[in-house]
């Protein structure tokens, strides 16, 4: 984790943060980051746009110790990492995937590498690790020590709106927030 840390400042780069977004200043942000409305970023989360910009959509919940990283590439290309709406990144999740759809859940300590493409309403179980070149079809569920997987016919919908509303209300009372550094233009998430 320490390898990702910027030497002095916790924040460096351009952030386009929409109104109504709670990004705690203890979270580590680096590079060109756009965050859409209603998203909550907890303290000690890491969003690192090292190898290209990161675009995060609306109503996402990014909990403590989560790492969302667009890592540096050897060939010098700078692809954009796009994360859709209504995703949950639970404590300690690691996401390197360049394309994440809507309504996915990354459970605690799960790990998804940059070669994986996550579509919609998938669930990566606690501690599961994915490192193969693949696309997770809609409604894929991974669970267990051996990463058993199956596809749900009727994918479950993340219902975290209540929690998000509560966090947006409460977190600013106890934490300093990071403001948008880019010119005042409402960040529009790429969905």
């Amino acid at each position: 984790m320490s390898a990702f840390k910027t030497p002095n400042k916790k924040h460096s780069g351009d952030f386009k943060i929409a109104k109504g977004v709670v990004v705690c200043s203890e979270a580590e942000l680096f590079g060109d980051i756009t965050i859409g409305g209603g998203t909550v970023v907890h303290p000690s989360a890491h969003i690192l746009a090292q190898g290209g910009p990161i675009v995060i959509g609306e109503r996402n919940l990014i909990q403590e110790q989560v790492t969302i990283i667009n890592s540096k590439r050897e060939d010098g290309s700078t692809p954009t990492m796009v994360i859709g709406n209504g995703n949950i990144f639970e404590v300690g999740a690691h996401c390197g995937s360049l394309s994440v759809g809507d309504g996915n859940t990354f459970e605690a300590k799960s790990r998804v590498s940059e070669r994986v493409k996550v579509t919609d309403r998938c669930s990566v179980g606690a501690g599961c690790s994915l490192d193969s070149q693949e696309t997770l079809p809609t409604g894929t569920v991974l669970h267990g020590r051996e990463c058993h997987r199956y596809t749900k016919k009727i994918p479950t919908q993340n219902n975290n709106q209540q929690q998000l509303d509560y966090l947006i209300k409460v977190l600013p009372n106890y934490h300093r927030l990071t403001k948008s550094t880019a010119p005042a233009s409402t960040a529009t998430p790429n969905t």
Binding site: S123, G125, H143, G144, H148, R149, Y150, K152, I154, T156
Partner: protein
Amino acid sequence: MALSLHYLKRVLYSCSCSQPAPLTDLYFCRHCKVARCQDCVSITVDTYFCPHCFETVPVSEAKNRKNRCNHCFQCPRCSSTLTTRSIIVPSEVLAEQSPKKTESPSSKSPSLARSPGGTKSYYLSCTHCKWSTRDVGIKDKRSPIDFKDPLSPHQERVSQLVSFYKEFSMRDQAEREKAKKVGRRGRSYGGLLDTSKFVKGASSDSPKQLRRASLQGTWNKSVVNKVATQSTDCPDQIPDGFYSGEPELKKIATLQQRLLDPAHQPARVEQFTPRPLHLIGKKLLRCKGCDHILLKAEINPSSIRFKIQQIALHTFPQIRILKPPSLVAGAPCEVLLSVSNPVNHVVSISFQQLEPSFTKGGKVSLAPVSLPKGSYQLSPNDDMGDLLDDSEEELEGEKEFIHSRLLGKLVLKFNVAPEEGTTGEVKFGFVLSFDYKSTMELEKQESSCIVPAPVVVDLGKLTHSDD
């Protein structure tokens, strides 16, 4: 505690069946006044309870419930416990559904009318693997206790067989009694003890054959045919492409998932049904010698206390090796053992040599040892002891063998002489005798008796000297 765990296998006490066991595995029967190991106790189930909802189920009822809880369910996919989720169905949706239902006379419609805001409906879902009863098309229920284990497809056949064999055994018994009566008159068909069936060329009408003949005579063949297994000419057809088609691994149940439900054994994931949760039993241990209870847990499932707990750790002085001794073959080596008192009164102990029969005719080689002579008194193990004054009363014991004396503890010197040519672990044994004061309520006056406990101490390998 870590220390005692480490020494668990070093100091072995002997059970009354002369099986060596660590002190933590032994029970002490205060009626027989001997140690009992795991093999010397009879284990029965006291009560059953559900590990999820903590409902207590009596032993007699648990059998009827197939040892499973009625309300809690297990995930058929990952076997973790399912949680009940409720959703509120808006009344408009119900209104849409109700015209369909009017065709079939349903008694539920009046209950729906009573709740104008919408009704709650329930489904089960797994928080671990996200499986839910909706995945397999099980409809949401009006009440969380409406989920039931589907009946086994073999239920009818099994009950048919059970009733047949019940009748069979009754007839069998009747025949046996009849045969007994015949035997009294003249011939003897003494039942199982009759050895004539093993003798070559014995009379052909042995009791077994006689019984069978009589059964065939009295039983109508059609009764037997009713339950007999029928052979079929055409076995179940294997679906096309079973061997040639590409298997859909995501849709085939694993062996573990299949065996979770032995009655149905779902082959595919669409056939999964929530499994009722297994009940867990609380053990009741009895002494095999006198049938008195040694261990009985409290009935309340959320409590981890015991009503009766007679473990050896509460009675026997505990022996530990104080520090690893240096062992040289052929020379007497000093070994320090600490003896701690588990009870809060003075206990006197003494040491005797093991009987030769204990070594099982020389199979277990024990090093010769000189034991501390005389008897010693252990100070009471009182939690408040260190707050008391130091007005120590003189406790019995030969000073020559005492290394140090602590609260409720005594460190003694033993002299072990490992024999030349010992390759394995150096072991030595002795009998630790302590006076056991019985504090049973029935016996009003305190009675005391001396309990011998054979102990074998494993000191480890010989210390290699450099020269």
